[in-house]
């Protein structure tokens, strides 16, 4: 499924090592650019053009089109950078996390000790 999972052998976990970081460099560089308001506007105005400008692969583009955060992680996206993409698109941390777990937001929240502490 994912090389980094084989390299590290921790289930359900994609360790962000240099190999994965290099694979996802275009994703993370694009996401990092979204710290600036004008870039967020440009992304929202034309996602395809923006992704093209940063040289994302077709697979990487598709993961972003589908807002598939797990796939994006497997392709080298790093959460600390793609949270900026999430913020641009209106996806918060727990929404992203629930999706990566294959759960609804409510299901995920029900697994927490004190779900009010957000």
């Amino acid at each position: 499924m994912s090389d980094t999972q084989e390299r590290w052998g921790i289930p359900g976990t994609y360790v962000f090592d240099l190999t994965l970081s290099r694979q996802g460099y275009a994703i993370n560089k694009m996401c990092n650019s979204l710290k600036f308001d004008e870039n967020r506007e440009a992304f929202k105005a034309d996602e395809e053009a923006y992704m093209e400008r940063y040289g994302l692969s077709e697979e990487q583009k598709q993961a972003i089109r589908e807002r598939d955060w797990l796939r994006l992680t497997q392709l080298g996206g790093n959460l600390f950078f793609f949270l900026k993409l999430g913020a641009t698109l209106g996806y918060g941390l727990y929404t992203i996390g629930a999706q990566m777990r294959g759960e609804s937001y409510e299901q995920f929240m029900s697994t927490r000790n004190v779900p009010g502490a957000t």
């Binding site: 976990t13 994609y14 927490r112």
Partner: protein
Amino acid sequence: MGKIVAGIGSSHVPSIGRAYDQQKQTDPAWQPLFDGYEPVKRWLAEEVKADVVILVYNDHGTEFFLDCYPTFALGVADSYAVADEGYGKRPLPDFPGDAAFSEHLANHLVADEFDLTLCQEMALDHGFLTAMPLLWDHDETAWPVKVVPLLVNVIQHPLPTGQRCYKLGEAIRRAVEAYPEDTRVAVVGTGGLSHQLNGERFGHINEEWDKQWLQRIQDEPRELAALSHKEVMTEAGAEGGEVIMWFVMRGAMTERVEEVHRFYYAPMTTGMALLALNNSD
């Protein structure tokens, strides 16, 4: 002569900062956390009276990008800006640096074979910001302590080993004790405890492991520091691997330490912990 007068381990979590800024100190979900920090805040203000805080933290895609990623980066500036993490700047005053002390550290640590990246400009994200207002009172413009930010790469493997972090702490102690001024130095290691923010295991926490950590970091830090990254991440989660930053703090303390205060709370996706230590020797 410089002296290390306190060692503190503390989580750094963005939601804590939001709760602080939104004044949720008495919100039932948050009160335990804020109450947990109170005794340490008091101890620091009344007994420790540090002049400078060396705060060990990591950046979270805010100020450093993967084009050029340091293993260790030390602030050597007169002041440090509060970063905007994309949701607006937190209403905290910028931090005063102690450039002369930073320079002393830089000269000492590089001579001692630590290959630091030195930063004359550095904006600080929640890795740095979270613990500060919970530990030191501030008003709208000022902090009662000067700071030295020390960044550790815990984002992109290869990370420094736990042992390397521990040795950096030991070298920091030697450097502080060689400082000619009578400067009282607190060292804060931030991060952890268990949490994971990626993959199907998102949300993994391990309260049992966290509670053991709070004891073992006191009694057998070298054994802990010898664990591999894989061992730590398997138990504490991928992002929990950042606990290695506590070793810098622990390495700066004496062999035996005395526990001043301990607090643990795991409401959502992170084992939030606070540990305050005093030197015994």
